[in-house]
Amino acid sequence: MSTGNMNLTLKIWRQKNTKDQGKMVDYKVSEISPDMSFLEMFDVLNEDLITKGDDPIAFDHDCREGICGMCSMFINGRPHGPKDAVTTCQLHMRSFKDGDTIVVEPWRAKAFPVVKDLTVDRSAFDRVIAAGGFISVNTGNAQDANNLPIPKAQADSAFEAAACIGCGACVATCKNASAMLFVSAKISQLALLPQGQPERYKRVQNMVAQMDAEGFGNCTNTGACEAECPKGISLENIARMNRDYYSAKFVSEEEG
């Protein structure tokens, strides 16, 4: 089968822990197959480092099929690398050429401190969801699911917003380290559905407040987040969130 013939130079961010200053370190890998995923290329490098007695490179990854949102590498200046609409784990070495130099850094944002090397702490996202990214319904006797028809187009739009995998590429690529694409995707999903209406305005206020408290920056409509999002989450969601956020100021307590 397939040991390949690509030889590459990697410049990788190494940082022992959150407090360490960190630096770029050069590595060489050889016999890389174009069929390998980018992370499998890292497996080869780590295997080599372990055999030599060096410290392997820490990086987050889990499902390796583009859905868990755990992998998070900033490759040649772009989150998840050079291809559109894929995560790092779905990036394959056939997207690179023999002899390339590839620069790999962690997500960089104040709200995402580096844990080690390429691993960062994204728990701020969970806290934003905990602040309001839900519909307050306890488990129990919900009404029959078909009692409330939802127009297909509306349900489809909600689904598109819900496709966010929470990887944080939007934050990493934004010059302001803004999380507005992530936050607005959840707000949109729930604002588009009838079930989300009762808490609609309280939700947007609570989630935005938490987003600010976590130290994410503001949005200046550059659109890098949309361009780099592996799931194609649209900027329209940010517009929708902003509308709801301003509307919320005019909505009385009783309405939400």
């Binding site: 089968m1 822990n17 197959s33 069929d35 390998m36 992370l39 499998e40 497996d43 080869v44 295997e47 372990i50 055999t51 007695g53 410290d55 392997p56 820490a58 990854h61 889990d62 499902c63 390796r64 099929e65 859905i67 868990c68 949102g69 755990m70 609409a85 779905q90 394959h92 844990v115 080690k116 994204r122 728990s123 996202f125 969970d126 969801i129 905990a130 602040a131 839900f134 519909i135 319904v137 306890n138 488990t139 129990g140 006797n141 919900a142 029959d144 699911a145 078909n146 028809p149 939802i150 297909k152 349900a155 489809d156 909600a158 689904f159 819900a162 496709a163 929470g166 999903q189 079930q195």
Partner: protein, 659 residues
């Protein structure tokens, strides 16, 4: 060998669960606030249980090894979730879902549990929709359904090819809501390494903080393991890289029996292995078999391109062998049929270990329907195919994109190449009707337990079971236990049992660090995977299984003396995490072979070559093997077999046929 009690309530199967719910002891709200429950794992089964228990008023601590509960591998489930709603008016009912599941499991599951699962299935859909889970809808605004294998009705609800993601995010939202209210304390990047038992009852866990390496002690009046399946024992599987058996295995060492470990599901439609660098396999959802037809060339070693092989030279072998179910036979049947064709020399692709999954026929069919809808009369072929592709794209777009990313081929133009891969494990910790293991106070839910799928799980039933357990079953059944615990005060974690459990965990970690051997953890994991795939995979025989046991025993010795784990135990150390998991996989692998060797019959995913019909179908032995094999860990690599006899009182046990 002794019998074990599954605590099934008396009465008719249709009333057991209702009667149980009406008569189970309750815990009053003020007592709930003082009762603590630990939930390990935050996939569908864990997140739903943690959220629901907290809503009910219990104090909950939840743990996951990932950086967020939203990343549990339930997120990757693609195709759908079954529920007996009968929205399609095609004759579905609770009984029919129950029947299909028992038959699909090849008559090796417990009737009472499966009936309850079918009964609560409809509530799951209601609950998910109430949470804002955007399931697929028709133009009338009502929910859409599709078909899955092993059934003749359309009862599968879905959200494109991301059903698991959407359902998990629903459960995760419910969980985060409770975290935000302070009713669940969440521990991410924590891995459970030991169960703590006091006076025979589960009273807590030892968890390692994966960032600091610190070992932590956590008390709970009860402990719930929702830690998923053990498919990664094969190294290559559709599981996530971190999916592991450690929590369940440590529980086994503390007295929880492990049931039917040899029942593993090999999923028929996965992207074939491309090289030995491969770290994982990717599933192409079973839902694709709604519209994809599986075939190989009629000629051996036919090297023509798929699109150059004319219709009459193609063998649609599933449609040929199983006309009643066709491409929608259950997974075990479809996988074996693919293996049979490839072994006989009809495989395709460079490795010859693949078959085609072809969408041309149905793309054309959809295209014609769309043309009619759009009033296009006598459209040309190109227009039909373009319109058809749009329909296919809406149904399966993300799967087609994923296939293209991984293989570099466009499935809209040329058929997918697929081959079976390890996907799900029906075996797991033995639990009674209450989902309690053989250790009092230790519960197990979702894929981690053995309870509902017998020897083969039907497609779209894993999501159903995970959420049924977490939302609707465990929150009731755990009350039966906790109602007797209301006078037990929280036990301080300086109790000697916690100290002893911590020493067990610490000594293993220190041992791995100190071996300073020559080979990486992955080296051993890959070796284990090869042994398991070759000798305890899609087909097994007594001779191979005996060889595998000897090879695994040797591998275990080599691992414990020659593995190289860099770094230290008191820091973030992913290699150390892997070492602990692989150590447990090695021991489990041996038990799987032992279980497969003990079961002298073929059933579902367990296919013993010695036991097959003349047509190559699985040949059960109901007289001698209609039991659950529950293995007690006696230490030092020895196990004692306990049997739970399976009684079929509501379904007539029969030779499974999909012809």
């Amino acid at each position: 060998m002794s019998a074990i009690n599954s605590n099934i309530p008396e009465g008719e199967i249709t009333t057991k669960w209702t009667k149980f719910k009406s008569s189970v002891a309750l815990v009053n709200p003020s007592n709930k606030r003082t009762l603590e429950v630990i939930v390990v794992g935050t996939g569908l089964a864990g997140a739903s249980a943690a959220a629901t228990l907290a809503e009910m008023g219990y104090k909950v601590k939840a743990f996951c090894f990932q950086d967020s509960p939203r990343r549990a591998h339930s997120i990757a489930a693609q195709g759908g979730i079954n529920a007996a709603k009968n929205y399609q008016n095609d004759g579905d009912s609770t009984y029919r879902l129950f029947y299909d599941t028992i038959k699909g499991g090849d008559y090796r599951s417990r009737e009472a549990n499966v009936y309850r699962l079918a009964e609560v299935s409809a509530n799951i859909i209601d609950q998910a929709v109430a949470q804002g889970v955007p399931l697929a809808r028709e133009y009338g605004g009502l929910l859409d359904n599709r078909s899955f294998g092993g059934t003749q009705v359309q009862r599968t609800f879905y959200a494109a090819g991301q059903t698991g993601q959407q359902l998990l995010l629903g459960a995760y939202s419910a969980l985060e809501r409770q975290i935000g209210m302070g009713k669940v304390e969440m521990f991410t990047r924590h891995e459970m390494l030991e169960v703590v038992k006091i006076d025979g009852k589960a009273r807590g866990i030892i968890a390692r903080n994966l960032i600091t390496g610190e070992l932590e002690r956590h008390f709970g009046h009860a402990v719930v393991l929702a830690t998923g399946g053990y498919g990664n024992v094969f190294y290559l599987s559709t599981n996530a890289m971190g999916s592991n058996v450690t929590a369940a295995w440590k529980a086994n060492k503390q007295g929880a029996y492990f049931a039917n470990p040899c029942y593993t599901q090999i999923h028929p439609t996965c992207i074939p292995v491309s090289g030995d660098h491969q770290s994982k396999l990717t599933l192409m959802s079973e839902s694709l078999r709604n519209d994809g037809r599986i075939w190989v060339p009629k000629k051996k070693d036919d090297n023509r391109k798929a699109t150059d092989i004319p219709e009459e030279e193609r063998d649609y072998y599933l449609e040929r062998r199983y006309p009643a179910f066709g491409n929608l036979v259950p997974r075990d049947v479809a996988s074996r049929a693919a293996k049979e064709r490839c072994d006989a020399g009809y495989g395709v692709g460079s490795s010859k270990k693949a078959v085609y999954l072809d969408f041309t026929f149905n793309t054309e069919r959809y295209g014609k329907i769309e043309a009619n809808k759009n009033n296009l009369h006598q459209p040309d072929h190109e227009t039909i195919m373009r319109l058809g592709r749009e329909v296919v794209k809406e149904k399966y777009g993300n799967l087609f994109d994923m296939y293209k990313q991984i293989t570099g081929e466009d499935p809209y133009e040329t058929p997918m190449r697929i081959y079976p891969a390890v996907h799900y494990t029906m075996g797991g910790l033995w639990v009674d009707y209450n989902l309690m293991t053989t250790v009092p106070g230790l519960y197990c839910t979702g894929e981690a337990n053995f309870s509902d799928h017998g020897a083969n799980r039907l497609g779209a039933s894993a999501l159903m079971q995970g959420l049924a357990d977490g939302y609707f079953v465990l929150p009731y059944t755990i009350g039966a236990y906790l109602s007797k615990e209301i006078s037990v005060k929280a036990i301080p974690t300086d109790h000697p049992a916690f100290a002893e459990a911590e020493v067990r965990a610490k000594s293993a970690l220190d041992h791995f660090i100190n071996i300073k051997g020559t080979k990486s953890v992955d080296y051993f994991h890959k070796k284990l995977g090869l042994i398991m795939w070759d000798k305890c995979g899609m087909a097994r025989n007594a001779e191979g299984l005996k060889e595998a046991i000897a090879e695994i025993q040797q591998l275990k010795k080599d691992f414990w003396s020659d593995v190289r784990v860099p770094g230290a135990a008191d820091e973030y150390n992913p290699e150390l995490e892997k070492a602990g998991r692989v150590a447990d996989f090695i021991e489990l692998g041996e038990l799987m072979c032992l279980d497969a060797l003990n079961r002298n019959e073929s059933c579902g995913g367990h296919f013993r070559e010695e036991y097959q019909t003349e047509e190559g179908e699985a040949l059960r032995d109901d007289e001698n093997y209609a039991y659950v094999a529950a293995w007690e860990n006696k230490g030092d690599g020895t196990f004692e077999l306990h049997k739970e006899e399976l009684k079929f009182e509501n379904i007539k046990i029969a030779q499974r046929s999909y012809k």
